[in-house]
């Protein structure tokens, strides 16, 4: 695979995906992000401290605060522990012995940018939750934000070694459903040994994924919903997917370059279930998309750059991701904009990035220790208070209120039962079919 240096390099620099935006705006938009995260940033010391005081749970103490200052080196072990920390540590250390044997050693994890909490103040490089993980379990984590794109991570990091039966060097990789399916079908994943909390603490909606019976291969890290993002000031309330085919918004509308999102929503609009999409139903959806493109209803197909286009007023209706719209939900009176994200009547798409263990990983035990640690509600909540996508862990909605009460009732992070009933996953495709469908989709959108 040496033939395409340029395309891959250019591709990863340029094609803007949901995560790329986070990356681009990480520096500039940090303050906005903090604000959007509901005081998770600068105010979190005060909030969590008072929450701890009020509820009398020492374990909920703002670990971010304590480790924020002393752990400036980012070395997990080096974060001088104030005495107040100890109760928390002992309290949540109990699942470890029961679940998995590993209580020492280290492991290496590859994931996306913006998927973990970040220390406050000078300590922006450290991750308080991970420091606490090491303290509680004795396992060191080498956390790398090296996944930019499923396909290029697969091509550059996994395909070569796994094809030759070698260890990839990664013990946990965080990849999207369809890539996990591909890896599982190739036999390139280890099964995750059930532990004290995983898969027990996994929300029910994830327990019925037909491609992963018994949750052997994939432990969800974060999910997101794909629905209607719109400027309510211009459109009024919207709840139907019909809007994406409405002449009224011609040229003011974007779809997503992710085939599974755009085709999924179109299929829902046409009355098909994306989870069991047949070739005929797929063809019908592609025909509808093609028509919308040639009628010039669709202005562009985007990664998450639709967010800026909406802010700039170029786009008023978009296929959008719940996590992206979080930051836009406060009405901007001066610009006369009021952004909303709606779960359509016909249903919405649910996608998930999952932790998985590549075949032959040297530190499988440590990786499983981490997975089970993450599936303790309190730990997932700490991560979630920063990340703000959909949390897959049971009880995190209760735990998160100790960090910020408002977050617990945020249905974009913790979808209600009736919202969950409307969420659909995209049918599992084998490699050939996936490639054929991607091909049909890219042709429909002019590529």
């Amino acid at each position: 695979m040496t033939q395409h240096h340029a395309p891959i390099e250019d591709g990863t620099t340029v094609s803007i995906t949901r995560r790329r935006l986070l990356q681009l705006s990480a520096a500039a938009g940090l303050s906005a992000f903090l604000a959007a995260c509901g005081t998770a940033g600068t105010k979190s010391p005060a909030t969590s401290a008072s929450a701890a005081a009020a509820t009398g749970t020492p374990s909920a103490t703002g670990t971010p605060v304590a480790t924020g200052t002393p752990g400036a080196t980012g070395v997990p072990g080096a974060s001088g522990t104030p005495g107040a920390e100890t109760p928390g540590a002992t309290a949540s250390a109990e699942p470890t012995p029961g679940s998995t044997p590993a209580s020492s050693g280290s492991f290496k994890m590859a994931t996306w940018i913006g998927y973990i909490d970040v220390g406050t103040g000078k300590d922006k490089k450290s991750h308080p939750s991970l420091i606490r993980f090491t303290k509680e379990t004795g396992v060191e984590i080498d956390y790398q934000e090296s996944v930019n794109d499923n396909e290029s991570f697969f091509a550059s990091q996994l395909k070569g070694p796994l094809q030759s039966g070698l260890d990839t060097g990664w013990d946990i990789v965080v990849l999207t459903d369809w890539m996990i399916i591909r890896l599982a079908k190739l036999g390139w994943l280890e099964t995750i040994t059930p532990g004290a909390t995983f898969p027990t603490n996994l929300l029910d909606v994830y327990k019925t994924r037909d491609w992963d019976p018994g949750n052997q291969f994939a432990a969800p890290w974060q999910s997101g919903m794909t629905g209607i993002a719109f400027d309510q000031k211009k459109t009024g309330p919207l709840t139907s997917l019909d809007v994406f085919f409405d002449q009224k918004y011609a040229g003011k509308m974007t779809y997503l370059t992710e085939m599974r999102d755009t085709v999924g929503l179109t299929a829902l609009k046409l009355g098909s279930d994306p989870a069991t999409l047949t070739q005929e139903q797929f063809d019908a959806a592609i025909a509808a998309i093609k028509q919308a493109v040639s009628d010039q209803l669709v202005r562009q197909l985007t990664g998450n750059s639709y967010v800026e286009d909406m802010q700039g007023g170029n786009v008023i209706v978009a296929m959008g991701w719940s996590g992206d719209v979080q930051g836009l939900l406060v009405p901007d009176q001066s610009k006369d904009q009021d952004f909303q994200w709606a779960l359509p009547d016909q249903g919405a798409m649910l996608w998930t990035d999952n932790m998985a263990i590549p075949k032959g990983a040297k530190n499988k035990g440590q990786a499983e220790t981490f997975i089970n640690w993450y599936y303790i509600a309190k730990n997932a909540a700490e991560v979630e208070a920063w990340v703000n996508y959909v949390c897959p862990v049971v009880g995190a909605d209760v735990e998160i209120t100790k960090i910020d009460p408002a977050l617990g009732s945020n249905t974009l992070i913790f979808p209600s039962a009736e919202m969950q009933a409307k969420l659909h996953q995209f049918v599992a495709l084998d490699t050939n079919q996936a490639s054929a469908w991607e091909s049909a989709f890219t042709k429909a959108i002019g590529q």
């Binding site: 695979m1 040496t2 033939q3 395409h4 240096h5 395309p7 891959i8 250019d10 591709g11 620099t13 340029v14 094609s15 794109d149 396909e151 290029s152 395909k159 591909r182 079908k185 190739l186 040229g251 370059t257 085939m259 493109v293 010039q296 669709v298 202005r299 562009q300 197909l301 750059s305 800026e308 286009d309 700039g312 007023g313 170029n314 084998d430 490699t431 050939n432 490639s435 991607e438 091909s439 890219t442 959108i445 002019g446 590529q447």
Partner: protein, 290 residues
């Protein structure tokens, strides 16, 4: 040692060429051959690929994506003409009227390069946006209809390419114009040439190497560009670069992606040869070696 070098001057030349040749061999020639072989593969990621010398992929790819090929040449060619129309007066002014500000003016031409290509293109999005700097005043004055837009049209794509490649045209033109001895221009005047004749018969022919170098430097990357089409274009204005990117990264169809890259490369090469033949290889080579 120095004796050997003196006795074999060609050996010195080859020794000096070696690093460059080696670089081209490893990073250009080998990947090109590899890409050509990939284009003749059949198979898929799951079952693996095998080299089947499937040459029919070339006519197939060409007929499927003919529209995007033509569009790329039109956009790239249009942008090259525009950069010339903008760049020539600019280079002329700097070369002949720049005076002591020459270096400053040249610096200003290059200055945008201090910002990344991507950011420059994204900022065009802001400038051209539907209610942005350009269109908001025009809409307020009622000069254009409310639903008029530039973004997500071919105009935006060509404008973006033109802007991004302007220095590639301006600098070679400047170098060529700057070299023209003032005495030749004076001689033309002494021989009763009008301003237009002087420009047409003296300045322009002497600037030709710069025109050729500039137009090649602009046209070749412009045809293969996909950033401008992706950020500023619509589904109706996707270029061949976008198709190649989608084939590699979205579809995982390496053979077609490679075949398209190869066709693009060959088409540009043939185009350049024809261009050089028409305009004259002497100027091309003369411009390069001078």
């Amino acid at each position: 040692m120095s004796g050997i070098l003196r006795r074999h001057p060609t050996a010195v030349a080859y020794a000096l060429l070696a690093p460059g040749l080696f670089y081209l061999l490893v990073f250009y020639l080998i990947p090109t051959v590899q890409m050509f072989l990939v284009s003749l593969w059949t198979g898929n990621l799951e079952d693996g690929y095998s080299l089947t010398f499937n040459f029919s992929i070339y006519p197939d790819a060409l007929s499927q994506y003919w529209g995007q090929f033509v569009r790329s040449v039109v956009y790239g060619g249009g942008a090259t003409v525009l950069t010339f129309l903008l760049g020539f007066p600019l280079a002329y002014f700097i070369a002949f009227r720049g005076g002591r500000y020459k270096n400053l003016l040249l610096f200003l031409v290059i200055a945008p390069f201090f910002t990344s290509f991507l950011l420059r293109t994204l900022s065009w999005k802001l400038i051209l946006s539907d209610d942005g700097l350009v269109l908001a005043p025009l809409k307020t004055l009622g000069l254009v209809p409310d639903d008029f837009r530039i973004l997500a049209t071919p105009v935006a794509v060509i404008a973006g390419i033109t802007y991004n490649f302007l220095p590639f045209m301006t600098l070679p033109l400047y170098v060529a114009l700057e070299k023209i001895p003032p005495s030749l221009l004076e001689a033309a005047e002494d021989l009763y040439a009008s301003n237009w004749q002087r420009f047409r018969r003296v300045t322009l022919p002497l600037a030709l190497p710069g025109v050729i170098a500039g137009s090649l430097l602009t046209f070749i990357p412009a045809v293969g560009d996909y950033v401008n089409a992706e950020l500023l274009g619509s589904p109706q204005s996707q270029m061949i670069g976008n198709v190649i990117q989608a084939r590699f990264l979205a579809v995982g169809d390496y053979p077609t992606g490679s075949a398209l890259s190869f066709i693009l490369m060959a088409a540009i090469l043939i185009g350049v040869l024809i261009y050089a033949r028409i305009v004259g290889t002497e100027e091309l080579l003369g411009g390069a070696s001078a």
